[in-house]
Protein backbone atom coordinates (compact mmCIF):
# COMPACT_ATOMS: atom_id res chain seq x y z
CA UNK A 1 0.00 0.00 0.00
CA UNK A 2 1.39 3.40 -0.92
CA UNK A 3 2.50 5.60 1.96
CA UNK A 4 0.09 8.41 1.17
CA UNK A 5 -2.87 6.07 1.70
CA UNK A 6 -1.83 5.54 5.35
CA UNK A 7 -1.88 9.27 5.87
CA UNK A 8 -5.22 9.66 4.13
CA UNK A 9 -6.79 6.72 5.96
CA UNK A 10 -5.71 8.15 9.30
CA UNK A 11 -7.06 11.55 8.51
CA UNK A 12 -10.18 10.77 6.49
CA UNK A 13 -11.40 7.35 7.58
CA UNK A 14 -14.09 5.87 5.31
CA UNK A 15 -14.39 9.11 3.37
CA UNK A 16 -12.96 7.81 0.10
CA UNK A 17 -12.51 4.70 -2.00
CA UNK A 18 -9.54 3.70 -4.08
CA UNK A 19 -9.14 1.97 -7.41
CA UNK A 20 -6.45 1.38 -9.97
CA UNK A 21 -6.19 0.91 -13.70
CA UNK A 22 -2.79 -0.27 -14.91
CA UNK A 23 -0.45 2.21 -13.23
CA UNK A 24 -3.14 4.80 -12.52
CA UNK A 25 -3.86 5.12 -8.82
CA UNK A 26 -7.15 6.79 -7.98
CA UNK A 27 -8.85 8.16 -4.91
CA UNK A 28 -12.60 8.68 -5.29
CA UNK A 29 -14.89 10.90 -3.28
CA UNK A 30 -18.62 10.45 -3.83
CA UNK A 31 -20.98 13.37 -4.28
CA UNK A 32 -22.03 13.38 -0.65
CA UNK A 33 -18.60 13.74 0.90
CA UNK A 34 -16.73 15.54 -1.87
CA UNK A 35 -17.74 19.15 -1.04
CA UNK A 36 -16.61 18.65 2.55
CA UNK A 37 -13.55 16.42 2.14
CA UNK A 38 -12.02 17.36 -1.21
CA UNK A 39 -10.17 20.49 -0.18
CA UNK A 40 -8.66 19.13 3.08
CA UNK A 41 -7.74 15.95 1.22
CA UNK A 42 -5.91 17.85 -1.50
CA UNK A 43 -4.22 19.97 1.15
CA UNK A 44 -3.06 16.85 2.97
CA UNK A 45 -1.75 15.38 -0.26
CA UNK A 46 0.16 18.55 -0.98
CA UNK A 47 1.54 19.34 2.45
CA UNK A 48 2.05 15.92 4.01
CA UNK A 49 2.38 13.45 1.17
CA UNK A 50 4.66 15.38 -1.16
CA UNK A 51 2.25 15.73 -4.07
CA UNK A 52 3.44 19.23 -4.83
CA UNK A 53 2.27 19.62 -8.40
CA UNK A 54 -1.22 19.74 -9.86
CA UNK A 55 -0.81 18.70 -13.46
CA UNK A 56 -4.40 18.28 -14.54
CA UNK A 57 -7.95 19.22 -13.76
CA UNK A 58 -10.60 17.71 -15.99
CA UNK A 59 -14.28 16.99 -15.99
CA UNK A 60 -16.38 13.94 -16.87
CA UNK A 61 -20.12 13.58 -17.39
CA UNK A 62 -21.24 10.05 -16.51
CA UNK A 63 -24.78 10.43 -17.82
CA UNK A 64 -25.98 7.08 -19.26
CA UNK A 65 -22.71 5.49 -18.28
CA UNK A 66 -23.15 1.88 -17.20
CA UNK A 67 -23.20 1.49 -13.40
CA UNK A 68 -22.47 5.13 -12.75
CA UNK A 69 -23.88 6.45 -9.47
CA UNK A 70 -23.10 10.17 -9.57
CA UNK A 71 -23.31 12.26 -12.68
CA UNK A 72 -20.39 14.68 -12.79
CA UNK A 73 -16.81 14.08 -11.85
CA UNK A 74 -13.86 16.40 -11.56
CA UNK A 75 -10.49 14.72 -11.85
CA UNK A 76 -7.47 16.24 -10.14
CA UNK A 77 -4.14 14.80 -11.23
CA UNK A 78 -1.37 15.39 -8.71
CA UNK A 79 2.30 14.57 -9.04
CA UNK A 80 5.02 14.06 -6.49
CA UNK A 81 7.99 15.66 -8.20
CA UNK A 82 10.49 13.98 -5.88
CA UNK A 83 9.40 10.40 -6.45
CA UNK A 84 7.57 10.75 -9.75
CA UNK A 85 4.45 9.26 -8.18
CA UNK A 86 1.12 10.24 -9.70
CA UNK A 87 -2.34 10.14 -8.17
CA UNK A 88 -5.76 10.98 -9.54
CA UNK A 89 -8.37 12.34 -7.16
CA UNK A 90 -11.89 11.97 -8.55
CA UNK A 91 -14.51 14.09 -6.88
CA UNK A 92 -18.13 13.52 -7.88
CA UNK A 93 -21.01 15.98 -7.99
CA UNK A 94 -24.66 15.87 -8.92
CA UNK A 95 -27.49 17.92 -10.36
CA UNK A 96 -29.22 20.33 -9.89
CA UNK A 97 -26.23 22.46 -8.96
CA UNK A 98 -22.94 20.66 -8.94
CA UNK A 99 -20.55 22.51 -6.65
CA UNK A 100 -17.07 21.60 -5.48
CA UNK A 101 -14.44 23.53 -3.54
CA UNK A 102 -11.79 25.25 -5.60
CA UNK A 103 -8.17 24.13 -5.52
CA UNK A 104 -6.86 27.58 -6.38
CA UNK A 105 -5.75 28.38 -2.79
CA UNK A 106 -3.45 25.35 -3.03
CA UNK A 107 -2.29 25.58 -6.64
CA UNK A 108 -2.58 28.76 -8.68
CA UNK A 109 -2.50 26.63 -11.82
CA UNK A 110 -5.96 25.31 -11.04
CA UNK A 111 -7.44 28.69 -11.91
CA UNK A 112 -7.88 28.37 -15.67
CA UNK A 113 -8.38 24.61 -15.58
CA UNK A 114 -11.32 24.98 -13.22
CA UNK A 115 -12.69 27.74 -15.39
CA UNK A 116 -12.59 25.34 -18.31
CA UNK A 117 -14.43 22.66 -16.34
CA UNK A 118 -17.01 25.27 -15.37
CA UNK A 119 -17.33 26.38 -18.98
CA UNK A 120 -17.80 22.90 -20.39
CA UNK A 121 -19.76 21.14 -17.62
CA UNK A 122 -21.26 23.88 -15.46
CA UNK A 123 -19.62 22.63 -12.30
CA UNK A 124 -19.16 25.61 -10.00
CA UNK A 125 -16.14 25.97 -7.73
CA UNK A 126 -16.63 27.80 -4.46
CA UNK A 127 -13.94 30.32 -3.52
CA UNK A 128 -12.65 30.47 -7.06
CA UNK A 129 -11.27 33.99 -7.57
CA UNK A 130 -12.59 34.51 -11.11
CA UNK A 131 -15.13 31.93 -12.21
CA UNK A 132 -16.02 32.99 -15.75
CA UNK A 133 -16.25 31.17 -19.04
CA UNK A 134 -12.86 30.73 -20.63
CA UNK A 135 -13.50 29.13 -24.06
CA UNK A 136 -17.08 29.89 -25.02
CA UNK A 137 -18.42 33.43 -25.44
CA UNK A 138 -19.70 35.20 -22.36
CA UNK A 139 -23.29 35.25 -23.58
CA UNK A 140 -23.37 31.50 -24.13
CA UNK A 141 -25.77 29.76 -21.78
CA UNK A 142 -25.23 26.03 -22.31
CA UNK A 143 -22.56 23.66 -21.10
CA UNK A 144 -21.49 21.92 -24.29
CA UNK A 145 -19.65 18.85 -23.01
CA UNK A 146 -22.61 17.62 -21.01
CA UNK A 147 -23.88 14.41 -22.54
CA UNK A 148 -27.42 15.71 -22.90
CA UNK A 149 -26.24 18.59 -25.06
CA UNK A 150 -26.67 17.89 -28.79
CA UNK A 151 -23.51 17.52 -30.87
CA UNK A 152 -24.62 20.36 -33.13
CA UNK A 153 -25.83 22.56 -30.31
CA UNK A 154 -29.14 24.29 -29.92
CA UNK A 155 -28.54 26.62 -32.87
CA UNK A 156 -26.32 29.08 -31.02
CA UNK A 157 -23.76 28.98 -33.81
CA UNK A 158 -26.15 30.67 -36.21
CA UNK A 159 -27.43 33.26 -33.85
CA UNK A 160 -25.65 36.17 -35.52
CA UNK A 161 -26.68 39.05 -37.68
CA UNK A 162 -25.84 38.62 -41.36
CA UNK A 163 -24.41 41.45 -43.40
CA UNK A 164 -25.53 42.04 -46.96
CA UNK A 165 -23.14 43.53 -49.46
CA UNK A 166 -25.12 46.71 -49.92
CA UNK A 167 -25.11 47.65 -46.26
CA UNK A 168 -21.51 46.74 -45.48
Amino acid sequence: MPAYLDVLNAKFPNAFTTSAFRDNQRVQLDAETAPRVLFPLLRTLKEQCGFDMLFEVGGIDYLHYPDAVDRYCVVYGVLNTTTGERLFVKAFANDPDPVLPSAVPLWEGANWMEREVFDMYGIAFTDHPDLRRILMPEEYTSFPLRKDYPLRGHGERHNFQHLTRAES
Binding site: P137, P144, H154, R157, F160, H162, T164, R165, A166
Partner: protein
Protein backbone atom coordinates in the same frame (compact mmCIF):
# COMPACT_ATOMS: atom_id res chain seq x y z
CA UNK B 1 -16.26 63.50 -89.87
CA UNK B 2 -13.50 61.23 -88.66
CA UNK B 3 -11.49 62.31 -85.68
CA UNK B 4 -7.86 61.38 -85.75
CA UNK B 5 -6.27 60.88 -82.35
CA UNK B 6 -2.61 60.73 -81.69
CA UNK B 7 -1.11 57.29 -81.19
CA UNK B 8 -0.46 57.88 -77.51
CA UNK B 9 -4.11 58.63 -76.66
CA UNK B 10 -6.48 55.83 -75.70
CA UNK B 11 -10.20 55.86 -75.19
CA UNK B 12 -11.87 53.67 -72.58
CA UNK B 13 -14.88 53.66 -70.33
CA UNK B 14 -14.11 55.06 -66.91
CA UNK B 15 -15.67 52.01 -65.24
CA UNK B 16 -13.46 49.66 -67.21
CA UNK B 17 -10.41 51.74 -66.52
CA UNK B 18 -11.07 51.79 -62.77
CA UNK B 19 -11.69 48.06 -62.73
CA UNK B 20 -8.53 47.44 -64.70
CA UNK B 21 -6.54 49.43 -62.18
CA UNK B 22 -8.19 47.78 -59.20
CA UNK B 23 -8.03 44.19 -60.35
CA UNK B 24 -4.29 44.19 -60.76
CA UNK B 25 -3.55 45.33 -57.24
CA UNK B 26 -5.94 43.39 -55.04
CA UNK B 27 -4.36 43.61 -51.62
CA UNK B 28 -5.45 40.70 -49.43
CA UNK B 29 -6.43 40.87 -45.81
CA UNK B 30 -5.28 37.46 -44.55
CA UNK B 31 -7.97 36.31 -42.12
CA UNK B 32 -6.17 33.01 -41.51
CA UNK B 33 -7.47 30.91 -38.63
CA UNK B 34 -6.30 27.40 -39.47
CA UNK B 35 -4.27 25.21 -41.82
CA UNK B 36 -5.57 27.03 -44.91
CA UNK B 37 -3.53 29.96 -43.65
CA UNK B 38 -0.36 27.94 -44.21
CA UNK B 39 -1.35 27.44 -47.84
CA UNK B 40 -2.12 31.13 -48.03
CA UNK B 41 1.39 31.89 -46.87
CA UNK B 42 2.80 29.38 -49.34
CA UNK B 43 0.90 31.17 -52.10
CA UNK B 44 2.77 34.33 -51.25
CA UNK B 45 6.11 32.54 -51.27
CA UNK B 46 8.53 32.67 -54.15
CA UNK B 47 7.57 29.23 -55.45
CA UNK B 48 3.95 30.18 -56.21
CA UNK B 49 4.43 33.92 -56.14
CA UNK B 50 1.04 35.56 -56.01
CA UNK B 51 2.90 38.79 -56.74
CA UNK B 52 2.65 37.83 -60.40
CA UNK B 53 -1.01 38.78 -60.12
CA UNK B 54 -0.57 41.85 -57.99
CA UNK B 55 -1.86 40.38 -54.75
CA UNK B 56 1.33 39.99 -52.80
CA UNK B 57 0.86 42.95 -50.47
CA UNK B 58 -0.73 41.30 -47.45
CA UNK B 59 -1.75 44.01 -45.05
CA UNK B 60 -2.71 43.28 -41.49
CA UNK B 61 -4.80 46.39 -41.25
CA UNK B 62 -8.23 46.07 -42.88
CA UNK B 63 -8.12 49.74 -43.81
CA UNK B 64 -5.50 49.07 -46.44
CA UNK B 65 -6.98 45.95 -48.00
CA UNK B 66 -9.23 45.19 -50.93
CA UNK B 67 -9.99 41.51 -50.51
CA UNK B 68 -10.51 39.55 -47.33
CA UNK B 69 -9.32 35.96 -47.65
CA UNK B 70 -10.98 33.93 -44.91
CA UNK B 71 -8.75 30.89 -44.60
CA UNK B 72 -9.83 28.30 -42.09
CA UNK B 73 -12.68 27.42 -39.79
CA UNK B 74 -14.50 30.22 -38.04
CA UNK B 75 -16.00 29.62 -34.62
CA UNK B 76 -18.87 31.45 -32.94
CA UNK B 77 -16.55 33.63 -30.95
CA UNK B 78 -14.76 34.71 -34.13
CA UNK B 79 -17.82 35.74 -36.15
CA UNK B 80 -18.24 39.21 -34.57
CA UNK B 81 -14.51 39.81 -35.04
CA UNK B 82 -14.69 38.77 -38.67
CA UNK B 83 -17.71 40.97 -39.31
CA UNK B 84 -16.02 43.91 -37.66
CA UNK B 85 -12.91 43.50 -39.79
CA UNK B 86 -15.08 43.23 -42.88
CA UNK B 87 -16.89 46.44 -41.97
CA UNK B 88 -13.59 48.19 -41.36
CA UNK B 89 -12.36 47.51 -44.87
CA UNK B 90 -12.77 50.42 -47.22
CA UNK B 91 -14.73 50.23 -50.47
CA UNK B 92 -14.45 48.63 -52.90
CA UNK B 93 -13.88 45.30 -51.21
CA UNK B 94 -14.34 41.64 -51.98
CA UNK B 95 -14.26 38.41 -50.02
CA UNK B 96 -12.72 35.05 -50.85
CA UNK B 97 -13.87 32.08 -48.78
CA UNK B 98 -10.89 29.75 -48.83
CA UNK B 99 -11.25 26.05 -48.09
CA UNK B 100 -14.00 23.68 -47.04
CA UNK B 101 -14.30 24.99 -43.49
CA UNK B 102 -14.78 28.63 -44.35
CA UNK B 103 -17.19 27.72 -47.14
CA UNK B 104 -19.33 25.13 -45.39
CA UNK B 105 -17.94 24.25 -41.98
CA UNK B 106 -16.13 21.26 -43.44
CA UNK B 107 -15.78 18.32 -41.10
CA UNK B 108 -16.37 20.52 -38.07
CA UNK B 109 -20.12 20.07 -37.73
CA UNK B 110 -20.10 20.95 -34.06
CA UNK B 111 -21.84 23.38 -31.79
CA UNK B 112 -19.15 26.05 -31.94
CA UNK B 113 -18.17 26.15 -35.63
CA UNK B 114 -20.31 28.15 -38.03
CA UNK B 115 -21.32 26.25 -41.15
CA UNK B 116 -19.96 28.61 -43.75
CA UNK B 117 -19.05 32.26 -43.45
CA UNK B 118 -21.47 33.14 -46.24
CA UNK B 119 -24.23 32.92 -43.67
CA UNK B 120 -22.90 36.13 -42.16
CA UNK B 121 -20.87 37.84 -44.90
CA UNK B 122 -21.25 38.40 -48.64
CA UNK B 123 -18.74 36.10 -50.34
CA UNK B 124 -17.54 36.64 -53.90
CA UNK B 125 -15.36 33.62 -54.64
CA UNK B 126 -15.29 30.21 -52.99
CA UNK B 127 -12.24 27.96 -53.06
CA UNK B 128 -12.87 24.24 -52.50
CA UNK B 129 -10.29 21.96 -50.97
CA UNK B 130 -9.06 20.89 -47.59
CA UNK B 131 -6.81 22.78 -47.68
CA UNK B 132 -6.73 24.13 -51.25
CA UNK B 133 -3.41 24.07 -53.07
CA UNK B 134 -1.78 27.43 -53.79
CA UNK B 135 -2.70 27.03 -57.46
CA UNK B 136 -6.35 26.94 -56.47
CA UNK B 137 -6.02 30.15 -54.52
CA UNK B 138 -4.29 31.77 -57.48
CA UNK B 139 -7.19 30.57 -59.63
CA UNK B 140 -9.56 32.24 -57.17
CA UNK B 141 -7.65 35.50 -57.41
CA UNK B 142 -7.82 35.28 -61.21
CA UNK B 143 -11.55 34.58 -61.03
CA UNK B 144 -11.97 37.56 -58.77
CA UNK B 145 -10.00 39.70 -61.19
CA UNK B 146 -12.32 38.60 -63.95
CA UNK B 147 -15.32 39.40 -61.80
CA UNK B 148 -13.94 42.83 -60.97
CA UNK B 149 -13.29 43.56 -64.63
CA UNK B 150 -16.70 42.33 -65.70
CA UNK B 151 -18.91 43.90 -63.05
CA UNK B 152 -16.81 46.66 -61.54
CA UNK B 153 -17.83 50.30 -61.65
CA UNK B 154 -15.90 53.34 -60.57
CA UNK B 155 -18.30 54.33 -57.82
CA UNK B 156 -19.14 50.78 -56.75
CA UNK B 157 -22.68 50.81 -58.16
CA UNK B 158 -22.62 47.04 -58.60
CA UNK B 159 -22.70 46.51 -54.85
CA UNK B 160 -25.85 48.55 -54.41
CA UNK B 161 -28.02 45.79 -55.86
CA UNK B 162 -26.67 43.15 -53.55
CA UNK B 163 -28.99 44.05 -50.71
CA UNK B 164 -30.27 40.54 -50.02
CA UNK B 165 -28.96 37.50 -48.20
CA UNK B 166 -26.66 35.52 -50.51
CA UNK B 167 -25.80 32.56 -48.32
CA UNK B 168 -27.32 29.08 -48.21
CA UNK B 169 -30.74 28.42 -46.76
CA UNK B 170 -30.72 28.18 -42.98
CA UNK B 171 -30.16 24.72 -41.55
CA UNK B 172 -33.66 23.28 -41.27
CA UNK B 173 -33.16 21.54 -37.97
CA UNK B 174 -30.38 21.15 -35.57
CA UNK B 175 -30.05 17.57 -34.39
CA UNK B 176 -32.66 16.86 -31.71
CA UNK B 177 -31.50 15.40 -28.43
CA UNK B 178 -33.10 12.00 -28.98
CA UNK B 179 -31.18 11.56 -32.24
CA UNK B 180 -27.96 12.06 -30.40
CA UNK B 181 -25.27 9.43 -30.72
CA UNK B 182 -23.24 9.57 -27.56
CA UNK B 183 -19.97 8.19 -26.37
CA UNK B 184 -18.91 6.33 -24.33
CA UNK B 185 -19.93 3.17 -26.07
CA UNK B 186 -18.59 -0.30 -25.80
CA UNK B 187 -15.00 0.14 -26.83
CA UNK B 188 -14.48 -3.61 -27.12
CA UNK B 189 -16.92 -4.02 -29.99
CA UNK B 190 -16.51 -0.52 -31.35
CA UNK B 191 -20.23 0.24 -31.20
CA UNK B 192 -21.69 3.39 -29.78
CA UNK B 193 -24.67 3.70 -27.53
CA UNK B 194 -27.73 5.40 -28.92
CA UNK B 195 -30.00 7.17 -26.49
CA UNK B 196 -33.54 5.75 -26.18
Amino acid sequence: MALKLDDNIFIAQLDGLASWVRKNSLWPMPFATACCGIELMATASSRYDIARFGSEAMRFSPRQCDVMIVAGRVVMKMVPVMQRIWLQMSEPKWCISMGACASSGGVFDTYSVVQGIDRFLPVDVYVPGCPPRPEQLIRAVLDLQEKVQRTGTINAREFRDRDHYEGPTPLATELPVEELVVAPGNYRTGTRLRLN
